[in-house]
């Protein structure tokens, strides 16, 4: 029971008024910016919508995933860094470790709270995107939408645990924010991919290290952005992602147990 109270407290810790407002603003901004870039607003009249619905939908979803990875994942990294700062540094956490609350239980609760927040963030994006698709009549909520957002969620969880490990190790918040650079480098390399570059040494190295965004071109010189996301994560990617999550979680836990401050 204690673990749920710690998770509850973690949510309170994360959700200051500013973070709450910012979270909603980012989710809504991603959805509406994606819609604005999909030609939905510039297509004149229902006939054009009907004619180009499939392409508008593809543009919307592709841009949504791209913006989500570009904005929401870094936002998760920043929030994780702030949460980890409280977990690993200073006296904020010490007040809780009294009255019989053990470090393993406290850590489990903290991680659970962080996971719930990250999940709620991606869930909000899914709901907002789904509502937009339905309200605009662009299409239906497809299983691939759930699949891709779930993978992006897992990806942000892996980065979040990496953040916790880095802050646990260095006690420096700025270091904890550096995974944003990694995720953006990864995004850039994968976004620039064409049939020629696919499979070269740099690309493979990036994809084995950060496997979620792995892409096979299937013979297209300039693949559509949505296709890149639909081909996410081959077997080695899924395996690597789970392995990364487990490793960083374990590292974070060990660092939490042995931290001295």
């Amino acid at each position: 029971m204690r673990v749920f109270w710690v998770a509850y407290d973690t949510l309170y810790k994360i959700l200051s008024l500013k973070v709450l407002i910012l979270s909603l603003a980012i989710v809504l901004a991603i959805v509406f910016a994606s819609l604005a870039m999909s030609n939905y607003l510039t297509s004149a009249g229902p006939a054009w919508h009907d004619l180009f619905r499939k392409y508008i939908f593809q543009d919307f979803m592709g841009t949504l995933y791209l913006f989500a990875q570009m904005l929401l994942t870094p936002f998760v990294v920043i929030i994780s860094a702030l949460a980890a700062q409280d977990m690993y540094r200073g006296e904020a956490e010490q007040i809780y470790l009294t009255g019989g609350l053990s470090k393993p239980v406290a850590f489990t609760g903290r991680i659970l709270g962080l996971l719930v927040y990250i999940f709620l963030l991606w869930w909000a994006l899914f709901v907002a995107a789904g509502a937009t698709v339905l309200c605009t009549g662009l299409g239906n909520i497809e299983p691939s939408m759930v699949g891709i957002l779930a993978k992006l969620l897992l990806n942000s969880v892996a980065l979040s645990f990496l953040v916790c490990s880095l802050i646990g190790l260095t006690k420096v918040v700025v270091v904890g924010i550096t995974p944003i650079l990694i995720s953006h480098y990864w995004l850039t390399v994968n976004n620039d991919i064409t049939m020629e570059t696919a499979g070269n040494a740099v690309h493979n190295a990036v994809n084995y290290l950060l496997p979620l965004y792995t892409f096979t071109t299937r013979g297209f010189d300039s693949p559509h952005i949505l296709m890149k996301y639909q081909d996410l994560s081959p077997w080695h990617g899924t395996f690597s992602l789970v392995a990364f999550i487990a490793f960083f979680l374990l590292a974070s836990a060990v660092l939490y147990m042995v931290k001295q401050d």
């Binding site: 309170y12 008024l17 409280d86 006296e91 010490q94 007040i95 009255g99 609350l101 470090k103 401050d261």
Partner: protein, 303 residues
């Protein structure tokens, strides 16, 4: 450790790299007493507290609390703690925070409610009970911190600068709460820089200087052990210092501490001959501040 001691530090040293935190501490803190940690900033008080709490591992030596040695994974079952700086989630109301803390400490809210009501009235928290912590003043948050340290009925409570942000009336009520809990057998350790307020409350003192515990003393020991303090109408000129030093007197602006009472008359003569008026002469032992300053001027002391 004898049963009469709640905490024992055995040859404890803590180094932060090459910088000393605390050096060679051998101290027993008595059970059921209010123990005050006295010392300048950076002399090792907070480091000692954190080692007792198990948040820091001693570089050498052993910390024993309630008869059990501490390590980084020791669970603080019966210890309450108020750190120097407090930070709670800002969207909690005061009442919600206590509910959440009770849950985290494995207690039902109704178990802690009677104590919370008493403490709430004593520290005048009632008007703030439904306010978010975001809208509470620093003093109110400090009161919340104090109450949480006691709410699970611990046998040892450690308070680091507990009166920061409290007004005089609340400080009085805070010490009232302390005395209430002490009567119930709770051991209390306080670190404070406010010597005037602590000297009326503590039963036992630990004096820190240059990262060592230079002296431990019971309150009764302080009564007559601090020499004599002469308060003058102006600051003592530097030209008099060598002469006063030969008479075992140390100077702090307009205060002269005479550690050897046999030389008091001679010191007074020197001052009067120099045209300095004497405003007051009192036993330094009755004043914790003078005792502490005297201890520092003597360059430490034995246990």
């Amino acid at each position: 450790m004898s049963e009469a001691n709640i905490v024992s530090l055995k040859s404890v040293s803590k180094w932060y790299g090459k910088k000393p935190g605390v050096l060679d501490c051998n101290v027993d803190i008595p059970q059921g007493k209010i123990t005050a940690l006295i010392g300048k900033n950076g002399t090792g008080k907070t480091t000692t507290i954190k080692m007792i709490m198990g948040y820091l591992r001693p570089t050498t030596g052993k910390v024993v609390v309630g008869g059990k040695p501490r390590n980084l994974l020791t669970v603080n079952h019966s210890i309450g703690y108020l750190p120097e700086s407090l930070r709670f989630p800002e969207l909690y109301t005061v009442g919600q925070l206590f509910e959440s803390l009770a849950g985290m400490r494995g207690l039902r809210y109704r178990e802690v409610k009677p104590f919370l009501e008493i403490a709430r009235d004593l520290l005048e928290l009632h008007p703030h009970w439904k306010k978010t912590l975001r809208s509470c003043s620093k003093g109110t948050r400090q009161k919340v911190g104090i109450i949480q340290a006691f709410m699970h009925n611990p046998q040892l409570v450690i308070l680091d600068e507990p009166t920061t942000g409290l007004d005089p009336a609340m400080r009085h009520n805070f010490f009232e709460l302390l005395r209430q809990r002490q009567k119930q057998g709770v051991s209390i350790i306080i670190s404070s820089h406010n010597l005037k307020e602590i000297e009326d409350q503590a039963d036992y003192y630990m004096f820190f200087h240059q990262n060592r515990i230079i002296k431990t003393a019971g309150a009764e020991e302080l009564e007559g052990d601090g020499g004599t303090c002469i308060l003058t109408d102006k600051d003592i000129p530097a030209s008099l210092l060598p002469q006063l030093a030969t008479l075992s007197a140390t100077v702090d602006d307009n205060k002269v501490l005479v550690s050897d009472k046999g030389l008091l008359n001679q010191v007074l003569s020197v001052l009067i001959q120099a045209g300095i008026g004497v405003k007051n002469v009192q036993a330094a032992g009755a004043n914790l501040e003078s005792y502490f300053l005297n201890l520092l001027n003597q360059g430490g002391g034995g246990e």
